[in-house]
């Protein structure tokens, strides 16, 4: 078996004196989609930030493409091919739609995705490309946030609650892009509250509870009851 794309070994992290993650370990293979689930406050966003280098890691190692990336700042990781679609989208308010995308393309890697391909995936963004990013609807803003990750041509995208606050029909539109994204060779970790949607999209699941890993395995091998137990305990 080749080196996993992302390998996390006994990772701990937190905010100041508050420890939010305890000894998290898992491997993600190239081309796979992992669902990261768990109740609010279980540590999913903290784990993303620790992987991205936005939070200090107090213990453990993270390997990306076989190389250790512990302690590297976020902008270095972005250049190595790690991208995040942050919770709440976090678009740049003083930039237009296209400027948000161009900024990411300028600082990313060259590859399959460029602005033209992105506009074919999300045609509405081309129509609104000169508008201020925050003037778009929530779903369209989410497309910009996803696009910002894509045009950097990363190996791995961390998606943090991309359906949060969106209407169900809009969520469908956003998720309709997933096959194209994964089909272009990008791996993904998906934080998502909608378990059924995660089960349809992800090859494997990791469930966190109170900062610890409560469950891990291939999606097909995990039943609904297992997930309920992992969420809330016995």
């Amino acid at each position: 078996m080749p080196d996993p794309l992302l390998s996390i070994d006994r990772l701990s992290s937190g905010y100041g004196d508050f420890q939010a993650l305890f000894d998290i370990s898992f491997d993600l293979q190239q081309g796979h989609v992992m669902g990261l689930i768990g109740a609010n406050g279980a540590g999913k966003t903290t784990l993303f930030k620790a992987i991205m280098g936005l939070l200090p890691r107090s213990k453990g190692t993270v390997h990306f493409q076989g190389k250790p990336i512990g302690g590297a700042p976020a902008n270095t990781l972005a250049r190595l091919g790690l991208a995040m679609v942050p919770e709440g989208r976090r678009l740049f308010r003083s930039l237009s739609v296209e400027e948000n995308l161009r900024l990411a393309a300028d600082h990313g890697r060259k590859g399959h995705w460029d602005l033209g391909k992105l506009y074919r995936l999300f045609p509405i963004l081309e129509e609104k490309r000169h508008q201020p990013a925050l003037s778009l609807s929530g779903g369209q803003q989410q497309m910009v946030a996803i696009g910002r990750a894509l045009v950097a041509n990363p190996h791995l995208i961390l998606f943090d609650e991309i359906s949060l606050g969106l209407a169900p029909v809009v969520i469908n539109d956003v998720y309709a892009a997933m096959p194209d994204i994964v089909g272009s060779g990008i791996s993904a970790i998906l934080v998502e509250q909608d378990i059924d949607r995660v089960r349809k999209t992800a090859d494997m699941l990791v469930c966190l509870r109170e900062g610890r890993k409560a469950l891990q395995g291939p999606t097909a091998a995990i039943g609904k009851h297992d997930i309920t137990v992992a969420y809330f305990g016995e």
């Binding site: 003083s94 600082h107 910002r148």
Partner: protein, 287 residues
């Protein structure tokens, strides 16, 4: 009416100099929410540097810009990377304290190196040349100052609005964490912004020194005028900074008509009134 035309015109020209003082403050506040208390002292430092170059080479004062601008820009880059970067954070107090300390160091450093004697950059015929405009006389040097200030504002506005580095400046100003996560090297970018700021400081220093005497303690008043111009115009807007500089210049010039002692006070009063009516300045960037 005609008697007011001349002070207003002279005020606009003076406002060009105040705009120069303000541009750098506006720039680094806009990009990284940093207020540099030593801003005026760096302007005076640049003036001394220009004087030293002039004494050593005999060049025209404007030619000293060729040396003073790059040296000050390099100093700005290094200052941000080595000192100011350590002070940036959620707490706004550390950068204020550190730059206040830098201001004291510059003032006393200049005092021991150059004494408290006032200096000036003799700009020869440029100092006295003027254009006749009907009954009004326009000094060539003040006009040049205003033109350079407007060009700097226009240049920075274009840089921010139209270039890749400008996008990165705006994005980092909006949300440094997200900018870092998409690959922007924020420490380098902040240092570039400071280098740009110091390039404008160098230009402001040379023009100040051609127009008036300066001594080691001339900095704080320059900081104050620049700061007032930025606040009147509204934080984060370069055109607002230009408007703020011009308003301050006109206010002072009209105040001087009432009484010479009233010049500086009139500027402060206008600043106070605008702040009272529009606390975010005239043209704030909507946030």
């Amino acid at each position: 009416m005609a008697s007011l035309l001349d002070p207003i015109l002279q005020g606009l020209l003076l406002g060009g100099l105040y705009t120069m003082f303000a541009i750098g403050l506006s720039l680094i506040f806009g990009v990284m929410r940093l207020v540099n208390i030593a801003h005026g002292d760096f302007i005076v430092l640049a003036a001394y540097m220009a004087h030293a170059v002039l004494v050593a080479t005999g060049w025209h004062p404007l030619a000293t810009l060729l040396i003073v601008v790059p040296v000050m820009a390099g100093l700005g880059y290094a200052l941000q990377r080595v000192v100011l970067a350590r002070t940036l954070g959620d707490d706004i107090l550390p950068p204020l304290l550190v730059t206040f300390g830098v201001a004291v160091i510059i003032q006393n450093g200049l005092l021991s190196a150059f004494t408290s004697n006032a200096l000036r950059l003799p700009s020869r015929e440029l100092e006295t040349a003027s254009l006749a405009l009907g009954s009004l006389n326009i000094g060539v040097l003040p006009l040049l100052t205003l033109a350079v200030a407007v060009a700097l504002i226009f240049g920075l506005e274009t840089l921010f609005a139209r270039t890749a580095i400008g996008r990165a400046f705006r994005a980092t100003s909006d949300d440094p964490e997200t900018a870092t996560a998409i690959g922007v090297k924020t420490p380098h970018l902040f240092a570039l912004a400071t280098a740009l700021c110091f390039a404008t400081i160098a230009i402001a220093g040379v023009f100040l020194a051609m127009r008036s005497n300066f001594d080691p303690f001339a900095g704080p008043a320059r900081l104050l005028f620049g700061f007032e111009a930025v606040i009147i115009g509204g934080l984060g807007s370069f055109w607002g900074t230009l408007a703020g500089g011009l308003i301050l210049g006109v206010a002072q010039s009209l105040g001087a008509q009432i009484s010479p002692q009233f010049q500086v006070l009139a500027g402060h009063i206008v600043f106070f009134l605008i702040l009272a009516i529009r606390p975010r300045g005239l043209f704030p960037k909507t946030a």
